[in-house]
Every structure is written in structure tokens, then in C-alpha cells.
Amino acid sequence: MSGPLLEVEDLSVRFDTDEGSVHAVDRMSLSLEPRQVLGVVGESGCGKSVTALSIVGLLPKTAKVTGSVRFEGLELLAASKSELRRVRGRQISFVFQEPMTSLNPVFRVGHQIEEVLREHMNLSRAAARQRVVELLDLVHIPDPARRAEEYPHQLSGGMRQRVMIAMALGCDPKILIADEPTTALDVTIQAGILDLLRELRDRLGTAIVLITHNLGVVADIADRVVVMYAGRKAEEAPVGELFAHPQHPYTIGLLGAVPRAGAAARNGRLQEIPGRVPSLSELPTHCAFADRCPRADEQSWSEVPVLRQVRPDHAVACFHPGEQ
């Protein structure tokens, strides 16, 4: 394969509101290889969902998006409405956080998947039906032919998320963007959905962008991890490298906040990161993490750290990187 499947460069998103502009994403860059699972991690409001939505132009009109998003040579930020529509669902699919409300309550689930298939693939009725059952089987819904006949309210949350994933996979997309796909589900159901995503990557070769606030989820499934903070990339590395040698104090803080068997036994409690996420109403002229960081010094308060390579294939935006 020549080059990455999806390349996001210098993406900035600004919302102009009555109370002034909000800089949700600032000069964000990502690249996704075929078959790769990329984890994007950060707290609520760090811009990870906005980054994902801006890729296929799903942000409201009030958003000002600049930079570049290239998918197989097509510049998506400059694409027309109909070009975008051909990419959405067909090449790049979404799975959202809320499986309980993401299905239309008045139609049977099979019918809804069928609509998406017929919209994009020109399938006949019978062929689409056939494919619906295959897809539901693919996402391990038992008795798929019967489930296809049911309405969303008859399915559990985990089931509905599987239906959403089946719908997203209907047209064999090259990229699946999953925005907190397991957050609204029970822990055991979460594990099932993550297993499913991993299996789909292995079987279908779909590249996955997994957006989450949960580092445990990322450790489970991602190949590569991007940590975001306050609209910027804080750290990026392959998953093993990041967990073994975290460099950014924010990443280290996040890792300390993941509950683990044994960790509690050592010092009795989980670590927390002091302070709160900064408001994004103006771009800071210093390190956005400075007010919560134990390593902050004068430089942190006077300059914005740029991303730099500190270990092989491991970049971090911090003046004082290092484990501990």
C-alpha cells in the first residue's frame, strides 16, 4: 500500500458563538494506515469527537474548519455535498455513542440496514435482504433472520450497538470511526463489542478509529494511540510503547487513573489529575496542561510546546518529557 489511507493535517476547528469563539481543535494531525486500529484518547471536551466528525463534514455550519483531510487522494474538506455523501457510509462509516437512540424507532432494524444498502449499493430487494441477515450474523446477533424483523425497542443496548455496527459495515467501508462505542454499555457488553471490532478488523481488513476516554479500551484493541488534550495532540506512539514508556505527564496521569488489579493493593487508591480541563474559549500562549502539571516551569507558562520525537516512533508535546 502506498501511503496512509486517511491523512489529517493541521486540522483546526473553531466555533464562533455569541460569547466569542471556541477553539475545539488546534492544528491536529492524524494518519491512519489500512487495517490499523487507531485509538484517540482524552477527557470529555478535548476535541476528539469534533476531530472525528469534521473528517466527513458532519459538524454544524457554525464550525469553521481549516487544514486538510485527505482520503485516498480526495480532499474531504473541499469536497462537495454529494461527494461527501458518497464517502459517508460507503467508504467511511460511523458508530456513535448512543445505541439506545441511534435507530429510528418506527422501522424494523432489518429494514433500516436494508435502506442503507440500497441507498449506496444498488442492490435488489432480495439481495439486500440476504445481505442484512449475513451482516447481523457477522456481528454475532443470534437468530438474525428473526431479529431483523424486530423493532429497536425490542433489542437490548448491546444488541442495538451490534445492529449499528452491522449497518456501518453494510457497504464494506474502508474506515470505521467508532465514537465512544462502548461508553453507554455494561462492562461485559463492552468487552463483547471490542472483541467484535477486533474480529472485524481481522476478517474484513477495515481500518478503525476508536475514540474513547478509557485507556483500558485502547490497550485492549488499538495498534497506535493518540492522546489529546485541550484540542491538541499531547502524545502519540504505538500502543505497547505508550503504555511501557509514557512521556507526557498527562498520559502518565491518565494511566495512573485506570483501575487495575494490584494497583489498589499497592497504595490503596487511584491517582487523580488535579484541576480541570481548561476552557477552550481562547488559545493559550503556554502549555495548556501547565496549571495541572507537576513539572510546569517558566518555559511551560511562556511557550506552547511543539510535538517532537523523544523515542523511536514516539512523539510528545512537552518541555519535560519522561517517565516519572
Binding site: 458532519l58 464517502v87 459517508r88 435507530l103 429510528n104 424507532p105 418506527v106 428473526r146 423493532y151 456501518a168
Partner: protein, 291 residues
């Protein structure tokens, strides 16, 4: 039509059964439904239901009270009041249904487009609707009917147009709420175009609201038809209509009060039945009212 040959009890059938049970638990709604169905059938089959022709005169019984031959008495020309009420139901029910259908066909697309696309067009639609809503329904209908000229068809048109503004507001409001639903966002992310989103995701989810609104618009149009006919702007005598009968009864209020009372009761009962049916449907179809 289905993915499997035989389901023990299909989802749709099960839902229908639940709704039916919830409806049957409301006596007012059930009685109203019976009255509405009875009135519609009587109007449709007036030729066979009515004991006399609405124009047949019996000069042996002018302005007579109720008797075995004429259950509700006769008018000044000896015409049978019961027969005229049954025939008069035709004008009322025809005007009620047609005006409502007309109003829906005009208002729902406008509300959908305004609410979905927003922008200056939506602002214009909303403001014009607000201005029209400032006029009471009957005033608007009377004004329009006066412009169009007296006939049942024109009265129906006038009532239909007068019923448009509140329906636009409802359709637009529902659209504004539904376009923010997660399944609409999901459909956009899956590459659905505007027609699919409006036609498959927004409109079907507001059908129960529109159905309830229809059962409330019909009685308003029935009363409206009676008002217009009473004022001479609707059905023209000698064709029977409840409004025409009320008008004709005015000189005889002392000798034969029944001439005014019976058509008046017909209007009240039918309009009330539609209203109570609408209330019942709203309770049954709105999942928030129970469970």
C-alpha cells in the same frame, strides 16, 4: 415480504394488540369512536338510513312535534327533521374530512421544509404563520368563504386554508425536534440524502402527532361548516345541512324549538365525539402517558 416464513407473533401484530388494549380501556374514546363511525356510515348511506327523502313534504304535518311518523318532528314545509339531519351529516362530514386533508397536504410539507432547512425561508414561514394565527380560525374561514363565494366546495376550501397555520406550526415544531435525534445524525453519517432523512426518518416519526391533530381539526371544520352554512356562505337551501337547518329554524323558535335543538345537538355530539376520540388517540399513541 418478510425475512422468515412464520413468526409466532409478529412484532407489528403485538404492538397493535397492545395499542388496542390501551384504547379499549378508555370508555369515552370507545363511545366516541362508535359515534364517529355511526355518523360517517349514516352520512354515506343516507339514502337507505333516512326514513324520508330530505325534500319530501308532508302537508298534513307542518311544524309538528315528534310523532310516530316523524320521530323528530317536521319543519314549516312538512319535511322530516330526522331525515334532514341524516342527509345534513353528509355536508358536515364531507367538509370536515376534505378540509382536514387539504390542510394537511398544504401544511405538512411547508412545516417539514421550514423546520429541516432552517434559514431565512424558515423564518419567513414562521413569521407569516404567527401573523395568520393571530386571526381566529372562524374569522379567517368566514373571510375566505366570503371572497370565494357561497357553495359547499368553497366553504370546504376556506375551512381547509384556515386550518393550515396551526398545522404548519405543529409540523415545523416536530421537525425541529426530530432533526436533532441521534438516528437522524446516524443517517446523515451513513450518507443519507435530505429526501431520505425527511421522508423516512422525520415524517414517519410525527405521524401519531399528525393523526391526533387531524381528529381535532375535523370537528373544528364541522363546526365551521355549520357556521358558514348558517351565515349563507356554505350549503345553499334547500340542500340540507345542520347550519342551514339552524338558520331556517330561527322564525319558529317558539312554536317548534325542536327545529333548532336537534341539528344543534347533532353538531355538538359529533364534534365532541371527534374531540374525545382525538384525546383518546393521543393518550394511546403517546408512550409517555403510560407505562
Amino acid at each position: 415480504m418478510s425475512y422468515v416464513e412464520a413468526t409466532p407473533l409478529g412484532a407489528r401484530a403485538r404492538r397493535r394488540r397492545i395499542l388496542r388494549r390501551r384504547f379499549l380501556r378508555r370508555p369515552a374514546a370507545v363511545i366516541s369512536l362508535l359515534i364517529v363511525v355511526g355518523a360517517v356510515l349514516a352520512a354515506a348511506f343516507a339514502r337507505w338510513v333516512a326514513p324520508y327523502s330530505p325534500d319530501a313534504t308532508d302537508f298534513n304535518a307542518l311544524l309538528s312535534g315528534p310523532s310516530r311518523e316523524h320521530l323528530l318532528g317536521t319543519d314549516d314545509l312538512g319535511r322530516d327533521t330526522l331525515s334532514r339531519i341524516i342527509w345534513g351529516a353528509r355536508a358536515s362530514i364531507q367538509a370536515g374530512f376534505l378540509a382536514t386533508v387539504l390542510a394537511m397536504v398544504v401544511a405538512v410539507p411547508i412545516g417539514l421544509i421550514g423546520g429541516y432547512y432552517r434559514g431565512w425561508l424558515d423564518t419567513a414561514i414562521a413569521r407569516v404563520t404567527d401573523v395568520l394565527l393571530a386571526f381566529p380560525f372562524l374569522i379567517l374561514a368566514v373571510g375566505l368563504a366570503a371572497i370565494l363565494g357561497p357553495s359547499l366546495l368553497n366553504a370546504t376550501l376556506a375551512l381547509g386554508i384556515a386550518a393550515v397555520p396551526p398545522l404548519i406550526r405543529i409540523a415545523r415544531g416536530e421537525t425541529l425536534a426530530l432533526r436533532e435525534e441521534d438516528y437522524v445524525r446516524a443517517a446523515v453519517a451513513n450518507g443519507a440524502n435530505d429526501a431520505v432523512i425527511i421522508g423516512r426518518h422525520i415524517l414517519p416519526n410525527m405521524t401519531s402527532t399528525l393523526l391526533v391533530q387531524a381528529t381535532l381539526t375535523i370537528p373544528a371544520a364541522i363546526i365551521g361548516e355549520a357556521v358558514l352554512s348558517f351565515l349563507g356562505l356554505g350549503v345553499q337551501p334547500p340542500t340540507p345541512s345542520w347550519g342551514v337547518m339552524l338558520n331556517a329554524a330561527q322564525p319558529y323558535l317558539n312554536e317548534a324549538p325542536g327545529l333548532a335543538v336537534y341539528p344543534g345537538l347533532a353538531i355538538v355530539i359529533v364534534a365532541l365525539a371527534f374531540n374525545l376520540l382525538g384525546d383518546g388517540l393521543r393518550d394511546v399513541l403517546d408512550p409517555r402517558t403510560e407505562r
